[in-house]
Subunit: 409 residues, 2 copies
Amino acid sequence: MLIVQKFGGTSVGSLERIEKVSERVLKSVAEGHKVVVVVSAMSGETNKLISYAKHFSDSPTESEMDTLLSSGERVTSALLSIALNAKGQKATSLSGRGAGIVTDSNHTKARIESIDPKPIRSAIEDGNVVVVAGFQGIDEKSGRVTTLGRGGSDLSAVALAGAIEADLCEIYTDVDGIYTTDPRIEPKAKKLEVISYDEMLEMASLGAKVLQSRSVEMAKKLNVNLVTRSSFNENEGTLITNEDKIVEKPLVSGIALDKNQARVGLIGVVDRPGIASDIFKALADANINVDMIVQTVGHGNSDSEDLTNVAFTVSRDELESAKNCILKFKANNELQDIEVNDNIVKVSIVGVGMKSHTGVASKAFSTMANERINIMMISTSEIKVSMIIEEKYSELAVRSLHSAYELDK
Amino acid sequence: MLIVQKFGGTSVGSLERIEKVSERVLKSVAEGHKVVVVVSAMSGETNKLISYAKHFSDSPTESEMDTLLSSGERVTSALLSIALNAKGQKATSLSGRGAGIVTDSNHTKARIESIDPKPIRSAIEDGNVVVVAGFQGIDEKSGRVTTLGRGGSDLSAVALAGAIEADLCEIYTDVDGIYTTDPRIEPKAKKLEVISYDEMLEMASLGAKVLQSRSVEMAKKLNVNLVTRSSFNENEGTLITNEDKIVEKPLVSGIALDKNQARVGLIGVVDRPGIASDIFKALADANINVDMIVQTVGHGNSDSEDLTNVAFTVSRDELESAKNCILKFKANNELQDIEVNDNIVKVSIVGVGMKSHTGVASKAFSTMANERINIMMISTSEIKVSMIIEEKYSELAVRSLHSAYELDK
């Protein structure tokens, strides 16, 4: 097989760890595979370089940040290549530029525009293990190095796997794979053997931190078979692939918990046409990501019966800006009051099986009712049911849902 | 003026030092100059990266070493550019590749083959201070990063100054400039205002460590006006330029001392045709650099009157290999004995004025005679007189010559 193996910062966090990674790569080669490795910077290096830059400026020039930060991955790629060569395995490192990764000009958060598969293919044909510096590409216009932002090395790996039509893209981290829920909350959580792209996207955006959504989206788009597994043990990981390739589709794959949630309640909103649109446009203009929205019948005063209540959720770090955004509507007397609450969480049931089975959502609601947990907001999609509840019920909700859907079996 | 300013490892050895460098660059800009900066890696960084590579291999892959080591200069260039931008001075960093520096394929000790002046010129026209990562270029054939070996950042600076036809190339280090002799040996040593390329070459190869000969040779070839000065104070440095531009040519510019000297004496060499050629070819084949050679009448035994003695000097670290090279001639009975002596030094008087004045050498010999210092070997060129003496007389010889030529005046 042609395999792309990506090793994150903790997996290459020391010279000893890089040595271990070289042994793991050699094992794959010995099994007959052709291997392209994508590496992150050694853990701590990127933060060190950022702190250097911050010494000079609170907002350092972004193109220079990319030159600065991209050096971390280059160092790791050269070291791993040296380690492999020292063990008798022909290997060569390639920078993002060397690997043909072209991005847009959006420094510090560039998007990959194209990848030329030729440099890697020809290095493989020459018998090399190819070690690519992750997280980076070049802006074709300026010729300068760009970086891909958070989770960028995963993106590099997935995009390269797509470009060279690899059979598999393995993402090595310090966790074993994707679990039915966070094992720190429910010790009975089980590692999943397989999960679909769409389920993973719901899990990721809902708080499963193993893979960034961007990488899963790209894997889905390029039809790359992703595996997340640990570089610290030999356990099989979790395969993330196309739903069609999954034979036994479980009703529910996992329970996700997102603690980074806050709720904004708008009390007594005047019922003029376009008011909702105005409010949510103001939030969008301020780059605030609104998740759930619920509108209810108002409890306005007797002078004006045409009042409604609106509630929506945002991430906690955006709560303050969201509130500031809304204040002008209160000043204009277009709403009576603003209530904010950041003692809430979002718990979600995710599973492709829901598409063809009924009763999944109602089981969630009855489970909550049995535990006397009040559901404050609900939203559903084809493959998930999300509920906003008070934060203090987090563990109870996750554990009882995990058990209700028999995920511990 | 268009000025290239090169700052070495100690000059950019900390974030505070990089801040100081940015202030110095701004001062030059404020004086109306256009500035291209060439930077080394922060002191200690290159050695750290080498030690990382040595963890995996005693002889790490050279092309990977170049990828690894070139990252140090890139980091400094980005940081200095960030510092300049933070102070309101438009600046941009360029890697060796970005600065158009093309080398041969000789990894870890590449030679610059060409420089395209366009990228730097156009960045200057856009109002930038251009900060170039020193020590590196690219191999046009493979597209890989190469490094230029020891003193490589100086070479980058001189070559760039030549390519963009800069008026001046300032090399900033932790010393004030070139002195009439080593101030640690003779506290009365004076800093030179100006010295010719050829004198500097004699001084450098004879032990003045401020500039590598390669850089001076390139400055001479490209007719680049070089200044060496300190980044730690505002003192004027020493200008190294073409002899023709020096109006007052001193008889003697300086006294150089080279302690890295060893002498090999070959006793009773048979006088067959070609024997000297054979001996020195054997040394050359072993890459041993022979400096002085002296042949004297032999004191062979009575059976064979046709014996001579030959003595030559090599650097101390090559003494052992030189001796091993010669042993086969002894085994073949082509010489009677080998004497080695590494308790010697070479003291040299350097000055372009010698060309037009007689008596310079004889004053050196009489000074040595007055101090009862035995001269073991002598060699002269148009602009220098070198003498091999016992190491214990080093200080006495340097001080008395410094005084005899009135260099302390």
